[in-house]
Symmetry: C2
Subunit: 509 residues, 2 copies
């Protein structure tokens, strides 16, 4: 009776199946070595080979997808296990990740220690948690998180991936908590601040539930999937960049947690702050500006919500030595005219190019944010930030800096034409626009195909306060496929996203 | 611009993939009609055909598993959708089940109304919740559940599936909260009580994380997957039955919730009570005996825990008009000698047959439980329950009743021989057995192949208080495969599950 009996092995096979974040493997019900009948669908198993261990969710099959002496690894599992086809592996029922005991303790009301949180984040970033285990951690922490837990979570997430360091005393950054369509201020702010000479190595996310993230929109103009060294080169050459954070692997546990938070619509303050601050900590930022849009269809509906969130950002920033400034902004409607990567990129370039039709709200908001960041330059006279920002934008320095960044990041691999199918949604009656629903426009633009179709999206013709007459177009939907256009149009017809005050319209006519 | 544009359709294909509880579908990345790139792996989609709607988790593939004009339904989804291969279906991104808003409210600290809970249970029982959504509901309700919520959850779960009614004033039932290996008292209690003439339509579960449920063990002797009408026939003929509850579809939402609770090791009192009471309510029980084993490795470690649980059972029972009696029992070690379906069935038949080697603890505990139930017979003199139970058991009436039930349920489709490979685990030194770890033996017996291999398991030779000498066998492991035997033996060598007090052994020698 050996202490460690030899386990029968099966050979790795690759299964062409995209299972997203989750590691999935498939075995045959005829597998003699594995005794699949002791498992069930969606059991968790542990694969071992050459000192590597992979936790995965198991599916069973009777057909030829995998042979009795094989185990099929779906694409993400195959990629992460990184062993060639044919490699012999042992498979055993997985024990739960031991850090899950801390999660259960938390659910029962205990507070987690720093060591416990570090272990949880480590297991999460190694893809050891199943979907339901991730949900258990998030929901278990949602009702109450102590300030110690918040700090420990931020630190553990920041340390779980790449950590950038810079040889500069001032490394500025900005971040918006999201929710406002078209809000592409980073792409105006970064060129202004970098043109001034401050370091601003900006990494952004791709859209998860929105029609465009800054990375998706920037990708219309340039490559964004830079590696760590490429990112350094661009920043050293241009003082700034506009790269996708996912490729740099900053705070990978955060990306995994977000992929569960979003479909569940979990959005707790502590988790949002830990998420954002972990990424900024890992990115080596010293001065951070946080943009909190407030409006009826924004993430924050009232100024008071914004204040409570501001305090949390300040608390965490102070603890980790990041100088955090938090400002509230107008979140009552989309920023700019375009929603969707290509349309948003057009807005950005119009603002940088000082074109007559450039959206004024995007310009003004970007100048305000850039002004705050420029004030961190010790050389600049206090209060001169706004004037300096305008000088750089109006004089064309910002546009030239953007061109330099685009050239340094390299050409985009994506097509950048607008959707060739369009439909206009018109005003049902005369009136004045009194509200535009941000949530609705996020959804409509996604229906049209954004962000996957870069040129799909929505162009707004009217903003709050504008007067419209019956039959006048409110916005135009762009799409590439009939079915996307139909879906978006049907959605817009069901609920246009615009509120028109007919009374106000009549009075002013 | 039609309000409901025609959506492109794809044809149902069946994919030989067992995904357990979860509905999973596969589409081709080349699918033109579906635009799969707007989805991601593990997105949720909605299938519609012939007025039916199915929510499912989506996987993507590039290879020939499904064609561009097809959608592949994994076995459980195919079975639940119940449309033939080739049926045209429309596929859209799924909106979240609307009851999930109530779950989010609960996570944020609100109390759920009865209508909200009913909607949640309805969505769950129709397989509309993903794993992470199920976990969110369970964890969100774990920290606090009001008495109103507990009652509403019990009622909604009871009403979500089959509801049995009986033409008898007294319909007795018993239930153990589990955790104790070998604890097959139902299979002794039901024949005794039925032989007396009381109605006891017992439905039981199969093992989820244990090496045997009562349904698994009974299946060694008879068919257990009775439909509702068959169950009625058996009960009318025999006054009792020992059937699998899963096939009767009592409280299906509970079965789904349990399949998430178990891998997460979530075990909150309220959810346990709602789970058990919903099944008993649906089964039409009027008098219910609850067995709460207390012991260091049982689900309840202290008598005080048992008392708090008892109060909850009584509260819910009173509300729904079920007369609930709760007793605590000795849960310090396994009951009987066998662990695993065949070995446990042998114990049961030995007790019913009054064999000399029959395990005394199983006999005594069963008599005690049967006595409590028999006291509900108005004809019986108060306090005479135990004597009557013993009379029925010792006189052979219980055994005859068991044979009658077995005959009525029909022959088992399963093999019932014991595992042909065995290994004995011996005492490492002289001593007295002071503890036997229930959790450990659940795990060891599962490693050996139980409950899938009915004849796999463990036979205990020693119980607490027994004296052993060095090298004497403590227990025997039974398995059918070398690898299962090796795994169980390695586990037993790492941690035998027995505590031997060498001092006590020496003193008494």
């Amino acid at each position: 009776m050996p202490a460690n009996p030899p386990r029968p092995q099966v050979k790795v096979r690759r299964i062409n199946l995209d299972t997203g974040r989750e590691n999935v493997v498939v075995i045959s019900r005829q597998s003699m070595a594995l005794r699949p009948d002791v498992f069930r669908g969606f059991s968790r198993v542990e694969l071992r080979a050459n000192g590597k261990v992979l936790l995965a969710t198991l599916l069973l099959t009777d057909d030829g997808m995998v042979g009795p002496d094989e185990i099929g690894l779906a694409e993400p599992a195959f990629h992460r296990f990184a062993e060639p086809v044919g490699t012999p592996v042992t498979v055993t029922p997985a024990s739960r990740p031991s850090s899950l005991d801390s999660v259960l303790g938390k659910i029962q009301g205990r507070t987690m220690s720093e060591a416990e949180i570090t272990a949880i984040v480590d297991d999460i970033s190694r893809y050891r948690y199943s979907d339901m285990e991730l949900a258990a951690f998030l929901v278990g922490s949602a009702s109450f998180m102590s300030s110690g837990e918040l700090l420990a979570l931020t630190k553990a997430m920041a340390q779980a991936g790449t950590q950038l360091t810079w040889d500069h005393r001032v490394v500025v950054d900005k971040h918006c908590i999201g929710g406002i369509p078209g809000n592409r201020t980073s792409m105006v702010v970064v060129p202004i601040v970098a043109a001034h000479g401050l370091m601003i190595p900006k990494t952004s996310s791709r859209a998860i539930t929105s029609p465009a993230g800054t990375a998706d929109t920037m990708e219309v103009l340039a490559r964004v999937d830079l590696g760590v060294n490429e990112l350094r080169e661009v920043v050293n050459a241009c003082h700034g960049c506009l790269a996708w954070g996912g490729h740099v692997n900053l705070s990978p546990a955060d990306d995994i947690l977000i992929s569960v938070e979003r479909p569940l619509s979990l959005d707790t303050r502590e988790q949002m702050v830990a998420s954002i601050m972990s990424k900024k900590l890992a990115a080596g930022s010293t001065h951070l500006l946080i943009d909190l849009p407030v409006g009826p269809s924004a993430k924050l509906a009232r100024a008071n919500d914004a204040m409570r969130l501001r305090k949390l950002f300040e608390f965490v920033g102070d603890h980790f030595g990041i100088e955090v400034e938090v400002i509230t902004t107008d979140g009552r409607q989309p920023i700019g005219n375009g929603i969707g990567p290509v349309l948003e990129a057009q807005d950005v370039m119009a603002v940088l190019g000082n074109e007559p039709g450039a959206p004024r709200d995007l310009r003004e908001k970007s100048l305000r944010l850039a002004a705050h960041l420029l004030e961190h330059d010790p050389e600049l006279r206090g209060g001169a930030g706004y004037a300096r920002a305008r000088e750089l934008l109006d004089g064309g320095a910002a546009l030239r800096q953007m061109q330099k960044i685009i050239d340094a990041q390299g050409p985009s691999p994506c097509r950048s034409e607008l959707g060739n199918l369009t439909a206009d949604i018109v005003a049902p009656h005369d009136g004045v626009v009194t509200a535009i629903d941000c949530l609705r426009f996020n959804r409509l633009a996604r229906s049209a195909g954004a962000p996957i179709d870069k040129g799909a999206g929505i162009k707004l013709f009217k903003k709050i306060g504008d007067r419209v007459t019956r039959g006048e177009p409110l916005y135009r939907i762009y799409a590439f496929g009939e079915s996307e256009l139909d879906l978006a149009v049907a959605g817009a017809n069901a609920e246009s996203g615009y509120t028109l005050d007919a009374q106000a319209g009549r009075e002013t006519r």
